[in-house]
């Protein structure tokens, strides 16, 4: 490493950061590809089907085949569409989904940028994801994608508030905005000290809001691929696929955040011998997989919400619930029982 350092001189920090970015984004994109595979397999088995099993052993090459197919297809730009913004839409949807990973810790040491305000950073970056959708709908120059974009953007903006309040609860309990410190603050003898228990309403609100935030079933009024005309109706080929890459990257991101903030991140469920032998990284991966499985399970189980009920749930149920629990946590912290909420 020192050889490269001397070779590159002042350009070394830039190159080294790029290498680290590739080390995160590469596996992430692979994970995105195989989450789509897992989704089709899991939902297949839940519906007593087999799912993809033709391409490669057990259908394991299916996501690769899908990717190649989509890349070969022509990107059709509708007449009268705003060409630049039309192509900028998918990029703006994808960029925040990847940029947020800069501050996500995978173990106490393994993090690209261990900044002081990483939770705020994630909230700020993920709040930009809505631009991709709004732009895609508007630039298509077609009324149905535009209506779809309005629906989707209103939903995302609404649930962001409830999500933000749920995160306020987490940072009150951890007394830090740094994700590494938030996980370390959950340390205890068993999984009862993780924040899912003292912040249980927040945990539920966060989990459900994040499903709504990433436009997945049962909140997928933005783009039920097969039956609802959504914001990406005019997109084709890879431009269309990028929206799905962004959706699945966001899915993994919110699963990771749920694991970090409510399920103890890399902490083992019991702080005793056989559990502590396994490296924390694998515990984190296991928790992320669990939350991802929940998302797939939701999709296979629940019927789609009606749009006015989605709005009602976000504004009239989740926001009051989080506000009340914030007050409750704040008041309890002043009592002798406050240690339960730290």
């Amino acid at each position: 490493m020192e050889f490269f350092q001397s070779l590159l001189g002042p350009a070394w920090p830039v190159v080294w950061t790029l290498v680290k970015i590739i080390a995160i984004v590469g596996p992430l994109l692979l994970a995105v590809a195989y989450v789509t595979y897992a989704e089709r397999k899991v939902i297949g088995y839940m519906q007593v089907r087999i799912g993809p099993n033709r391409v490669g052993p057990l259908g394991l090459l299916q996501p690769i085949a899908d990717g190649v197919k989509l890349m070969m297809k022509e990107i059709i730009i509708p007449s009268g569409a705003n060409k630049k913004l039309f192509l900028l839409g998918p990029v703006l949807a994808m960029a925040p989904a990847l940029a947020a990973w800069a501050v996500v810790p995978f173990s106490p040491e393994l993090v690209l940028a261990n900044i002081d305000a990483s939770l705020l950073y994630i909230m700020a970056i993920t709040s930009m994801g809505v631009y991709g959708i709004v732009l895609a709908g508007w630039a298509s120059n077609s009324k149905y994608p535009f209506l779809g974009a309005m629906r989707s953007a209103a939903q995302i903006v609404s649930y962001e508030i409830a999500m933000g309040f749920a995160l306020v609860g987490v940072l009150m309990a951890a007394q830090s905005l740094n994700l590494v410190e938030i996980v370390n603050a959950q340390k205890g003898s068993s999984f009862f000290s993780w924040y899912w228990l003292p912040l249980f309403p927040m945990f539920l609100v966060y989990l459900i809001s994040s499903v709504a935030e990433i436009n997945r079933a049962p909140f997928d009024v933005a783009e039920g691929e097969s039956e609802i005309v959504g914001f990406h109706a005019e997109y084709s080929g890879m431009a269309f696929a990028v929206f799905f890459l962004a959706e699945y990257a966001n899915m993994i991101l919110v699963a990771t955040l749920t694991a970090l903030m409510f399920l103890g991140g890399w902490l083992p469920p019991f702080d005793v011998a056989p559990f502590t032998w396994i490296p924390g990284f694998f515990w984190l991966i296991a928790k992320i997989c669990f939350v991802l499985f929940l998302f797939l399970w939701f999709r296979a189980t629940f019927p789609r919400y009606r749009y006015d009920q989605i709005m009602r749930l976000g504004w009239k149920v989740f926001i009051p619930v989080t506000l009340v629990w914030l007050l409750f946590v704040g008041a309890m912290m002043q009592t002798p029982l406050g240690y339960l909420f730290h």
Binding site: N82, L120, M123, I125, S127, M128, Y131, V134, Q309, R312
Partner: protein, 216 residues
């Protein structure tokens, strides 16, 4: 020129370009998007000044919320680009006057002795990596500036309530659904199961078949 200055000029160039395009772009949607870019690069500049909380909140509030609503409104409007340019020359003298006034005010502030840190004898404090901008800000807001902070938030709340009260009108002839009532519905409120004669016959038949199967 070190790397930091280089990065500063990089962001400053983008910021100035984006800010200029906000007023010169023909399409209002483009203008709004250039404003987003301007906010974003301004946040980057603030981070370089170690004001990371302000920078992140700028992105969170202005880019993530305010500009999304702006875009919503601008996209909903059916704008005729030709009429948009009408009256440009009529309004130009007044606009120029306002611009000159603003430039003069800024010049007064920037030329003033107290604006420059080295002019007033106070040098900017450079903090180490352990310093938490957010903790300090939080402490100040909730101790020294707690009353101004609370008063400002109450004023904002009043503004929200007032805006809703002014625009909300309930028409008598609109029909709307009460979601709470809809959700509270149970099966027995809507559904009644009637025993059908054919059903009974079928059941008897099944029972007879089962009987014969058991016997054999």
């Amino acid at each position: 020129m070190n790397a930091q200055t280089l990065i500063f000029y990089f962001f400053a160039t983008i910021l100035l370009f984006a800010a200029a395009r906000v007023v010169t772009a023909r399409n209002p949607v483009h203008s709004a998007l250039f404003l987003v870019l301007a906010f974003f690069t301004a946040a980057a500049l603030w981070i370089m000044l170690q004001a990371e909380f302000l920078a992140i909140v700028l992105v969170l509030v202005y880019v993530g919320a305010v500009m999304v609503l702006f875009l919503f409104v601008v996209m909903m409007l059916d704008i005729n680009y030709d009429t948009l340019r009408e009256g440009f020359w009529d309004n130009l003298p007044f606009a120029l006057l306002v611009a000159v006034l603003m430039a003069a005010e800024m010049a007064v502030v920037v030329a003033g002795r107290n604006f420059w840190a080295n002019g007033s004898g106070v040098s900017p404090v450079i903090h180490g990596p352990e310093y938490s901008n957010i903790k300090e800000l939080g402490r100040l807001i909730y101790t020294e500036y707690v009353y101004p902070f609370e008063i400002a938030s109450v004023i904002l709340l009043v503004a929200i309530v007032a805006a809703i009260a002014l625009t909300l009108r309930r028409r008598k002839d609109t029909k709307y659904q009460d979601s709470a009532q809809q959700i509270a519905v149970r099966r027995n409120d809507r559904l009644r199961i009637i025993p059908v004669a054919a059903d009974n016959k079928l059941r008897q038949k099944h029972e007879a078949v089962e009987q014969t199967e058991k016997q054999s």
